[in-house]
Structures are given as structure tokens and as C-alpha cells.
Symmetry: C2
DNA sequence: TTTCATGTAACTTCATATGTTACGATTCGA
DNA sequence: TCGAATCGTAACATATGAAGTTACATGAAA
């Protein structure tokens, strides 16, 4: 199934912005992500609504992070994106009359709820600063390996 | 995003089969599930390949469970269905050159892997017998409330 | 006032689960 | 043997939603 990669996309964009002085345009971010500037505006616009980034028009305009990297968690970003459905699996009917299907739904819902809770807990433990540190480590290793 | 409801469907079908004497036709199961007999054959066919059900053609044909209810777990059924992707969220690129994106992927992959492991663990703890018991309880409660 | 940039509507494309039609193959009973 | 019942499967249709694209309006700065 085709999946929603917006969380991955905004993380990628935000980390590039964190490594970059001054605003970055949708055009440049689109090149980083391998996508269209309009897709960048559409997605980053949700982060703007959540107060995580700002955008400026005109000359020297573009996107900027407006929050401390250590305070922005993956969970916040997931919420800013509208909390899209986490699972590609689900019940056939959400409110079945059939008692058999109610048993099935109850069991599946319980398992999904636990897994989603764990995922969101992990998301809340990871900040942009965490990822920036991880990137810095990879960058050092890459430079060392390069010679 | 539209999700895969086949696990939910086959559970519903199998429990009806467990409550029913003799084989059930794709036509009847389709009515139980609110879907088309061909969809039933297509999905149940995967369970047949896994040895969990048998099918017979012709008069008095149909589908039958060929395993002990207490030994069939949701995880086995998930596997029989081809282990479809669990998450509707995912990375934008699976093998990025970009070190930034590698950090993003590593973090997301870790969180997803933990959540998926928990989900599959729960799936492996739930058998068809578990669900049949739960249904029996709901059925008793329903009869008590009714009368 | 020209250029660069975002904001946004409208439309297209793509992937994929699900639904549908059609027909062949097989089994059983009359 | 015939015919109805039933599965097996290919082929096609539909629906949904993310992502991509085009077009143009709006606003800011040189």
C-alpha cells in the first residue's frame, strides 16, 4: 500500500534547514527532497499553522524554523500533520451489529492501540536535536572514512 | 488512507465457520461480511494455501476450518495473508544517499520496528479460540439483556 | 516596477484495496 | 448422463488518497 511519507519529508526538510543559515526556499527544499515546490509549501504550511516554522515571501524569503530544536518532537510533527492514520491495517466495519465482528474488532483494536501508543511514545522521545546530533555523528564518520 | 481489512475479514469469516456445522459457501460468507463471493474466495484461498482451511467444489461444497481453533493465532493469519505492510506511514526513500535523510530513516525505522514487534507479539498471543470465547461471552450477555 | 517568493485552487497521475463480471472446472444428485 | 451447485481465476471496473503539476494571485525587496 502506498504510504504517507510526509513525516519523513518534513524531518528531512527541517534538518536541512537546521544545518543552513537563513531561510530556505520551497524550490531548494524541493530539490533536497526530490519533489515539487508546491508539495513543500503544502506540507510545510501545516507546520506553520502549528507555529513550528515561519515563511516569508519575496526577495530573501523562504522557510525558517521558529522553535528550539530540542523542544520539537516527532510526535508534535505528527500532530501538526493532522495525526494521519498510523496503520495500513484495520477493521472492515467500525460499528458492526454482528457480535462475531464485535469480538474481532475488540481484539484487533486492543492490539493496534497498544502498538500505536508505543509508537507515539517513541515519537515523543525523539526531538529534532536528537536527529541533528545523529546526523552530526554520521557526518563525522563520513569525513573520517573519506580520508 | 484506505486500509487493508483482510485480517479483520478472515477472522470474521472463520468465527462464523467455527459456529456453523458443515461447510459454508463463499456466497453465504460474502453475505456475513457484506462483500462479494469472489472476494471471499480470493482471500480465503490464501488461508487454504497456508493449510488453515479447505474448500470443496460442487454440491454441499464450501469452506471448512482444518485446524484446531486454539492453535491458530492472528499472527499466523497475518502471515498467511502475505504479511502485508502494517503501517500507513513510511520513509520517503528507503536507500537515501543524503546523510540527513539517513538519520531520519534510522530514527523512524527504529520506532516503527518496535511498534510492529509489539503488534505481532500481541497477534501471536490471540488465537481463534480466544476470539470464540469472547464471542460466547458477548452472546450470553446479549441473551441475558434481551430476555 | 521588476523579480523573487509564497498561497492556493484545480487538476492530473499513480498505487492499490476492493468490487464485479465472466467463464471454466469440478462435484454431486436426480 | 445431465444439470445445478460450487469453487478457481482472469480480466476489468471503481474508489480512495497521497503525491505531482499547472496556473495565477499576492506580497516583499532591490
Amino acid at each position: 500500500m502506498k504510504h504517507d511519507s510526509r513525516l519523513s519529508s518534513v524531518l528531512h526538510a527541517l534538518l536541512h534547514m537546521a544545518e543552513h543559515d537563513g531561510p530556505m526556499t520551497s524550490e531548494v527544499l524541493g530539490q533536497c527532497l526530490g519533489t515539487n515546490p508546491v508539495v513543500v509549501r503544502r506540507t510545510m504550511g501545516l507546520l506553520r499553522e502549528a507555529g513550528l516554522v515561519t515563511s516569508d515571501r519575496g526577495h530573501a524569503g523562504g522557510w525558517r524554523i521558529s522553535a528550539d530544536l530540542s523542544t520539537v518532537t516527532l510526535r508534535q510533527l505528527h500532530e501538526a500533520l493532522g495525526e494521519p492514520a498510523v496503520f495500513a491495517l484495520g477493521n472492515r466495519n467500525e460499528r458492526p451489529q454482528c457480535l462475531v465482528e464485535q469480538s474481532v474488532n475488540a481484539a484487533l483494536d486492543g492490539a493496534f492501540a497498544e502498538a500505536e501508543a508505543l509508537l507515539l511514545e517513541r515519537f515523543s522521545e525523539i526531538t529534532l536535536a536528537t536527529l541533528a546530533d545523529d546526523f552530526a555523528r554520521r557526518h563525522r564518520e563520513w569525513r573520517a572514512q573519506k580520508g
